[in-house]
Amino acid sequence: MNKRTFKQLIVGTLLLSLALSVIAGCASKPDASSDTGSKSIASDIGTDPMWKYPETVKVTQVIGHGKAEDPKTPSDITPATNAYYQKLKEMLNIEVEYLWMVPSDQYEQKFSLAVASGDLPDLMTIGFEQYEKFKDEDQLEDLSEAYEKYASPDLKAYVEADGGKTLDMFREDGKLLALPSFEDPFMSAQIMWLRKDWLEKLNLEVPKTLEDLEKVAEAFTTQDPDGNGKADTYGLALHKDLISWGFDARGFFYTMGAYPKAWIKDKDGNLVAGETKPETKAALERLNQWYSKGLLDKEFAFKDMDKVVEDIVAGKVGIAFGEWWYPGWPLNMNRDQDPNADWVAAVLPSFNGKEGETLVPSQRMSRIYVVRKGYEHPEAVIKMANFYTEMQKKEYAEDVKAENGYVYNWYDPRVYNPYDFEQAFTEVNAALDNKQEEIDSVNPTSVQAFKSSKKYLSGEGDNSDWGIYMRSIAKDGGWGITRTLRDKAYVVDEFYGTATETMTEKKTSLNKMTDELFTKIIMGSTPSSEFDKYVESWKKLGGQDITDEVNEWYKNK
């Protein structure tokens, strides 16, 4: 072989592999740009909600999944073998295929990558911000015809439970771009949970003011409430994400009239960022006092939520701010560990004679279902939602059980009655007051809660029955307390638009600054006087622009 052919070979190989890599990079891109006009749905598709396709229709999805929620689920069930999908194939001839499955904590990252590579599934479950992005990029299939023609009356009743207000948010130029599943915004309201058995043991009342709460926290820290002779308990549960999702400091801030990382109305009707207000500074100073008194975990700043939950379950901590659902998880697990453990719910304490006012979001969107532009069967997605609603009915109750491999939290799209917990509360309480043995309700949440409540109240139930009763039904339980907040004063987080331009650009820096300063003030490594400087730099580094943009949005809303 001479020199020239060798050279040619090398060059040829290089070119070939280059071409290969380009092809590999482009091949996976769906060809969405080619069809722009929305085509109408074939007229021979039956409008009956349970009409079965003569030929199998395929829908691709992706999933970030946790464990099947019900422990009775057979251990060999995976999202792909979920009995809901088997049944769906059997009854409607719709086949779901997962492009990928990851544990839920990796989902966001994986989904970002999928979006970045343009490799989108047919049906997607997304958040509001992602929705706005997809909308701007014209990536979403119009669902209006599919929804009008094929949604079952039950499904429509749920989706339009608020008079169609939420659904209208997803209409754009006469097109319907998403199927939203939303919830009662009060499900995000903050209340307070306390170890009832500890209060009783130390002869304390459920605190009504912040000062009382502080005394309780001190007693829980210093007076050995678990009676094991060791100083291993502390007052208030907290972790490194101060404003997040549970067991965090939101309730504490709200008690003191501070609403960090929320947009609230000031007295002139303009929106301001709660983290820059003097109330936030005062709350941070107060938390710092609690920290130096040892009422918080000294190392809360290094612990994530899982670690705090471990402390709650192990009976190390006696107070947690948060939402109504704690008894269902993880308080029931605390009772598994310690049969004497008991918890009580209370409204936020008052501060300076003023009742604590919780923050309530403008809306509580749980899941937004969208369909990739260009997918041929948008009506199949609506039918899948019909199917799920149908499956919750009583006539299927014998079959649709966790024991048979039905895992509801691995099924999408599922749309619920937004007010099902409120409905369950009134229906079940009425049935219990009437000493009924059976409950007659079409709301599956009511049926399940009634069963557990009956069991718990008769003394037979286990701790998960206790959890469901305390969470949803008990008048002094989670939902029982939360629903009373509707009649009290509360503050609304007014901004629910998509991130503004400066928000997208500066969010990383501003959040870093906020988290760093807040944690440092609480732990005392920075004096709270730094707060004023922080507000100045926050405004200078983009915060002022963001405030202007948010107010602009608010006026044009």
Binding site: M1, F6, G118, E137, K298, A301, E505, D515, E516, T519
Partner: protein, 312 residues
């Protein structure tokens, strides 16, 4: 984003044309490697165009708007830019320095141990952490340095106040550097030991006859003998000066120590994957790669000058 520093000297092959024909089949074996490199190392480079675009994923590279150097302007004006750059440099440089010195001292000490089984035991146990993942080590480090951990128990038994190591910006860097050196020291130590074994034993005998003690032997024979490998390792690690150890820091840091431990890679991670600012994150990554290429070139040149080491 990452550029692995080469620490192993590649074999110097300089075939001349007459030999090329006979080694040709061997060259063919390179093809799979070349293809894989092209697909996974060169292919993704096309993605770098997003550093010059306002990249919108669903519009792709062809549909996104070109913005020139705006993304670079943006990152250079980020308030955190100089902080993370400084953190990256200081952490990486200290890691390099201690990562070279500690294994050297260990190797020299180990050389003086006569009993073979002790040498082997120590070698193995020092090498072991090299194979553990940071995910596991992070959990261990948190336990060791927690307020109730062994280190603080020791401090308490000496009558001092406990120290919050993981939340103290001064201690935290030390922990980062210390744990990184501890994890990686086995690898360099083996390289040094191999170099020491390569020194001609006659030199030691001659020195002994001339009356040199152990210490003098180390200074005048061992150290000069392994100087080339020290210089080689040092210059090659220059290329990784902007890699402060992403995985380790991401697993260990928290808002309290942002000031001293937030580095380029962790900032790019939060920008790109958490906040979905793809374009500025890509620009930051590209900036880092350009600086690294310059440093690698310098270090390659220096390696050639001082130790005659060359690949091409």
């Amino acid at each position: 984003m990452s550029n692995t520093a080469q620490t192993q000297p590649a074999t110097v092959v300089k075939p001349r044309s007459s030999k090329r024909v006979s080694t040709f089949p061997l060259h063919l074996m390179l093809i799979p490697g070349v293809i894989v490199t092209l697909i996974y190392a060169y292919g993704p480079m096309f993605g770098l165009v997003m550093a010059f675009q306002k990249y919108v994923p669903t519009k792709g590279f062809l549909g996104s708007k070109w913005v020139g150097f705006k993304n670079f302007e943006y990152i250079f004006h980020m308030p955190d830019f100089y902080q993370v750059l400084w953190n990256t440099l200081i952490i990486a440089v200290l890691k390099i320095i201690f990562g070279l010195l500690v294994p050297l001292i260990l190797a020299l000490l180990l050389q003086e141990v006569a009993k073979n089984w002790i040498v082997r035991t120590i070698q193995t146990s020092v090498f072991l952490p090299y194979f553990l993942s940071w995910t596991i080590l992070a959990g261990v480090i948190f336990e060791i340095f927690s307020l109730n951990g062994p280190v603080n128990s020791l401090i308490a038994s000496m009558g001092s106040d406990p120290i919050m190591f993981m939340g103290d910006k001064n201690w935290f860097r030390g922990i980062l550097i210390g744990s990184d050196v501890w994890k990686g020291m086995g690898y360099n130590m083996i390289l040094y030991l191999a170099a020491i074994i390569g020194i001609n034993p006659n030199l030691y005998e001659a020195a002994e006859i001339d009356g040199a003690g152990r210490w003098k032997q180390v200074i005048h024979i061992t150290l000069p003998g392994i100087a080339p490998i020290i210089v080689l390792l040092a210059t090659l690690s220059l290329g990784s000066v902007l890699n402060a150890g992403f995985e380790q820091i991401l697993l260990l840091y928290n808002p309290l120590v942002y000031e001293s431990a937030d580095v380029i890679d962790t900032l790019v991670y939060r920008m790109g994957l958490i906040d979905q600012q793809f374009s500025p994150a890509a620009a930051f990554g590209l900036f880092k790669s350009v600086v690294s290429v310059v440093l690698v070139s310098i270090s390659y040149y220096m390696a050639y000058r001082f130790t005659n080491y060359r690949i091409f």
